[in-house]
Symmetry: C2
């Protein structure tokens, strides 16, 4: 059915002209009609014969309601009859209502009686739409009824939603089974429900002034889905639209900022303990090979490098300016950067929105826009880009190169990233502080890292998303190519409160974040350690080619815990085919456990690990392997580690690559073995059955979202 | 209302004599009557006047049903009328039913018409009882309806349940709010519902032959709760009861086993690589001061200690025998231990139930019972008891003394415990392997550690509980004194499958474990790391005196994540009183965030941490503190750590002790700071906001269960 946008426009214009904030029920119904959203059939009857005819046309039961501008309280006036089951009842009912109305108010103008299809049976559901400050238009779906409200069982998607996304919403609620028909109930038409969701999502997207919409209840049956009640709220104040450079502009600017040929340090200093001194030291000691221009009002030279009074005095081109001056001097220096044509500014200073200086932040944003300077910060530690040996930060230098690009909204979390990365030898391509996010934010980074060949995984800590919609759109594209992990702080009510007092950011409803991030294919980390471990482990693992996970374990006890962790992390323990089971049995003692986990038992020599792991890698039906090692004298930790690394290497040479993770149970020597394995591409953890499986689970979550598995 | 046990016995005897496995509906109703469980009122009317009278007595609406031994299909015969609202309808209905019956079967014997109270309105709920293989009788509670079935929203308690436990069940379901009256609905009578639950739990406990009971639905209203339908299943085969020594006997035997004055090593060996050699080495090198008797058929001396051919040849008393001989020789040697009067045997050898040798295991159990030897294992690594420097194991020696007693069902997990304990310098009092649990199990250990002054926290890994009821009973008592932590493996369907293939143990429904362990006051660890971190951290923390938790943080970003973690772990962020808020504000910059978290901001000197932490410790309204440290040049990690330790020490001297945990965000130096703090009683973690809060949450969970907070 074609959408009649003209009809909607006409009604909304009328509502606007009358200064109303909500539509009447009949207006709501007309909007639904215009978009093909099924509502109960109805019609106005002026005689009992007309009423009968209308009722026959829409099918029984029906409801009759008096239509009179002079009768406001219809029920009180005896002007409503429900559940009329046949022509006779309708005919009689028409007369009854008219009589009652006349008795109630003799001089009332009576326009007739409304005959309305009465919905019943099926499953009651709710479809709605809201306007979120960060994500914009969202469509929502849930079951109807009080119990569902109590359980807050509702799911969201960005509007407009595709048919596929709408269908995913039907499976996105806890009580999804209810729609499939339980206890002999009939399944509802998924087609009809998804279609209705899509139409609602299109209506609110086509007409941004519709700020809220509720279809509640909708009666969903095998045959279709009809909205019994429609509520629409409008807001005609247009939102200020955020400036969004094109993806090409972002790439161009971010490449100059992240991979500069020349860096200016505004507020460079020779004095130990000054931020401008730390930045200089990090640039120099970090091994950055590009040009460094210290900027200082008086110095001629800083740390052996010629200094300038202003960026405008620098003869060559500058790609990025790192600011290490007090907040109050920042605007002036930024204008000079603009006049010099510098495309990026790294604003380390604090003293802006986070301390209440909102005006100061607006001022620098305005300068940035005027001169087309992209701003990182303010209130940040700076950033690292290891492929260029670039440490544009006042923190310690970081030099373990790798493929993970991390960012944090908070400086504290940034320091934790640096410490963990160093301690766990996590190779990184970049660590970026975003702070107040006056301009550059997570989606700018995603756009840059998407095309950065030095980055294979992107992990971001954030407390809010200034433009969740832009983030989701970019993430959806990027996550198809590279895993994107997000730790969204302020998940919970208490956390969100702290978030808003921290950055003044309004943390959104967590369920919205949950659903939209998933819709975008983003892996959500539940804790700081998860963020860090996922960033470390995911790039190590090849992408699995299917869902069949096999656990091979020397410790039966680890096998049980690893199986628990598989379920917790959405991994599917392969149901073992008899021939494969028999093949494994050849290598393990007769009392070793059958099936999956493959329990090789504890007293086995290295060859048993070797043979079973090799079989697991070679059989094409197995797509991923989880190892459970048990420290014994017969197969000590490093013997195990070397064997595993050897087999994996041998298989790689044959072109066989499957994700393998390992859980090592044993005395302290297993720590060395874990490190040895990790260095060779096998995420391995001592004293933990849950972390390796969580890392594998995150890889799978990404691969599924990207349509690769 | 008194319980009429005689009435119940009479009915059950009849059911038994008739060889039935279920009660009829009227029988079920009689059982309910006998225990005062409300069921609909009913009576037999032999005239329309009698029917009216009965109906008046029970209140409208009512249901009428024909009572005739010759009419089986009542509805088909027109013998049922529902929803009769007044005397006239009842009177008419009586006649209608009689007429219908005569028309249906003219010669039918008609005993009269049953008049039954018709329940409606209120909230439909379900109360039931099941018999679990491990936990015995359990009472269950949930809401009625299909949606709740889909969501599996049901809660269990051991039967009989106290009134308080029954009341806790009403809050123990996700949809608990429904009982409180939502959307204008009336709240149900919690009193009546709890009372009904208690009575059901007593009925099934008093009559063990009732194996299953279902009251579904129960109509719960403001006024009461009435079961509309009763289903009772019986099982007259008595279960073989497990031998349970008295608590005194357990303490006596376990004290000799865990703190022996003399140990025999059966299968002691001088030969490197033999288990009997490892055990000897560990005993000697571990520093055990008691007598060691190597037992060997031929040797005169092993490792410089006089050897004996049999324990029976040893002149003195032996407290425990450690077995390091093949499975097939074990029974014979065990009999000799029995004849020698040794009260405990540590059975390291495998080759019993876990390899399918169930008969062999039964044989040694029988010997153990005959001679009253308590058996640890078989299929274990042995055990450590550090206060006696006792390493009765073939694993490496362990010597970091402390207050945590750990045990594991699996050897692999045992090795992980040893490795982690050593690596994290976790002081332990004991590490015990339980393996096949042919005799000694978790509740024996609880009973021992309860009275062991060297133990302050008990942490157990298990895959099943052979006698969940005994465990729950003992744990309930012990957990009041010392925290008990349990990692129940096989939590999930996949995990449970692996558990049953591993030990042949049937892992129970996880929801039952969840609820019963909570009822017993046990802290449930969700992962191996949680088990280990809780065991390490809990004894360090003093017991909190109230629920008010305050976060003091240098990193606003950590504050948000710490707040998230508080909600995840059931901790309550204190709502800050204005005067306390003002007191904190005195110490922090004007732009530091108000309330809780107390955000002191990142650039602050050590004194700011000092002043705020001191205030937090001194103000009696604050009961626990979570610190978020941010690594800066102004307050480096070790400076922070020393300051915190100093203040805590100072306050301890003044008698002020509150639990404090810390999350350290920074470069690698924070690892040293975390260790420094941990050593001084402040569980501190680098690069994690979630683990310190989880440890504090576990302490709180215990304190609440023990009624201390």
């Amino acid at each position: 059915m074609a959408k009649d946008q003209g009809a909607v426009r006409k009604i909304l214009d009328k509502v606007k002209s009358e200064g109303r904030e909500a539509l009447t029920a009949p207006e709501g119904k007309l909007l639904c009609d215009a978009y093909g959203i099924p509502v109960p059939k109805e019609g106005l009857a002026r005689s009992s014969d007309e009423a009968k005819k209308l009722a026959e046309g829409m099918g029984y039961p029906v409801v009759l309601k008096i239509v009179s501008p002079d009768i406001l309280h219809k029920t009180e006036a005896g002007g409503v009859l429900v559940g009329l089951e046949n022509a006779e009842e309708v005919s009689k009912g028409y007369d009854t209502i008219l009589n009652n109305a006349r008795k109630y108010k003799a001089d009332a103008r009576i326009d007739g009686v409304q005959v309305q299809q009465m919905l019943k049976g099926g499953q009651e559901v709710i479809v709605g739409a809201v306007t979120d400050g960060s994500f914009g238009k969202l469509v929502a779906f849930g079951l109807g009824g009080v119990l569902v409200e109590v359980l807050k069982d509702i799911t969201f998607r960005l509007a407009p939603a595709t048919k596929q996304e709408a269908t995913s919403m039907l499976d996105g609620i806890q009580a999804a089974e209810m729609l499939k028909g339980v206890r002999g109930g009939e399944p509802v038409s998924r087609e009809a429900l998804a279609d209705l969701i899509v139409k609602v999502s299109e209506l609110v997207s086509d007409f941004p002034e519709i700020s809220e919409m509720d279809l509640n209840p909708i009666f969903a049956t095998k045959a279709g889905a009809t909205a019994a009640d429609v509520r629409i709220v409008v807001d005609f104040e247009p939102k200020e639209s955020r400036h969004r450079p094109s993806q090409e502009e972002i790439v161009r600017a971010m490449n100059r900022i992240m991979k500069p040929d020349a860096v200016a340090v505004i507020g460079a200093s020779s004095e130990d303990g000054k931020i401008g001194n730390s930045v200089m030291k990090n640039l120099i000691n970090g091994g950055y090979k590009g040009k460094i221009y210290p900027i200082h009002p008086k110095a001629d030279e800083i740390m052996g490098i010629k200094a300038f009074k202003s960026v405008k005095d620098v003869p060559g081109q500058i790609d990025v300016a790192v600011f290490a001056i007090p907040a109050k001097l920042l605007a002036g220096a930024l204008i000079e950067c603009g006049e010099k044509g510098i495309p990026g500014a790294v604003l380390i200073p604090s003293g802006f929105a986070e301390t209440g200086n909102v005006e100061g932040q607006k001022e620098i944003q305005k300068i940035g826009r005027k001169y087309n300077i992209r701003l990182m910060g303010p209130n940040i530690y700076g950033f690292y880009y290891t492929p260029k040996n670039l440490c544009a930060t006042f923190c310690t230098a970081y030099d373990v190169k790798g493929e993970a690009a991390l960012s944090s909204q908070s400086g504290g979390i940034g320091m934790a990233i640096i410490g963990f990365s160093r301690s766990a030898k996590m190779g990184v391509s970049a660590i970026v502080g975003l702070g107040n996010k006056s301009d550059i934010d997570e989606d700018d980074l995603l756009t840059f890292f998407e095309q950065d060949d030095n980055t294979r995984v992107i992990a971001q800590h954030c407390e809010d998303l200034k433009d969740g919609r832009a983030f989701a759109e970019v993430a959806k594209r990027v996550a198809k190519k590279k895993p994107v992990i997000v730790l969204k702080a302020g998940r919970t009510a208490a956390g969100a409160k702290a978030a808003s007092s921290h950055t003044g950011a309004l943390a959104g409803n967590d369920k919205i974040y949950e659903d939209v991030l998933k819709q975008a294919g983003v892996i959500r980390a539940r804790s700081l350690r998860d963020l860090l471990e996922f960033a470390r482990g995911i790039p190590k693992l090849p992408t699995p080619k299917g869902e069949n996970v096999v656990v091979i374990t020397g410790a039966g006890g680890s096998g049980v815990l690893l199986s628990d962790a598989c379920v917790d992390n959405g991994l599917q323990l392969m149901s073992m085919p008899p021939d494969l089971d028999a093949a494994f049995r050849k290598f393990i003692p007769p009392f070793g456990a059958a099936g999956n986990p493959v329990d090789i038992t504890g007293g086995e020599p290295p060859t048993t690990y070797k043979n079973t792991i090799k079989l697991g890698l070679e059989d094409p039906r197995i797509h991923a392997i989880i190892l459970g090692y048990w420290h014994t004298i017969i197969t000590p930790p490093m013997v195990f580690a070397r064997i595993v690394a050897e087999i994996v290497e041998e298989m790689r040479a044959k072109g066989i690559e499957k994700p393998i993770v390992a859980s090592l149970a044993g005395d302290v020597e297993v720590e060395e073995a874990a490190e040895y394995l990790y260095d060779r591409g096998i995420p391995a953890y001592a004293y933990s059955t849950e972390i390796p499986v969580a890392v594998l689970g995150a890889k799978y979550a990404w691969a599924r979202g990207a349509g690769l598995v």
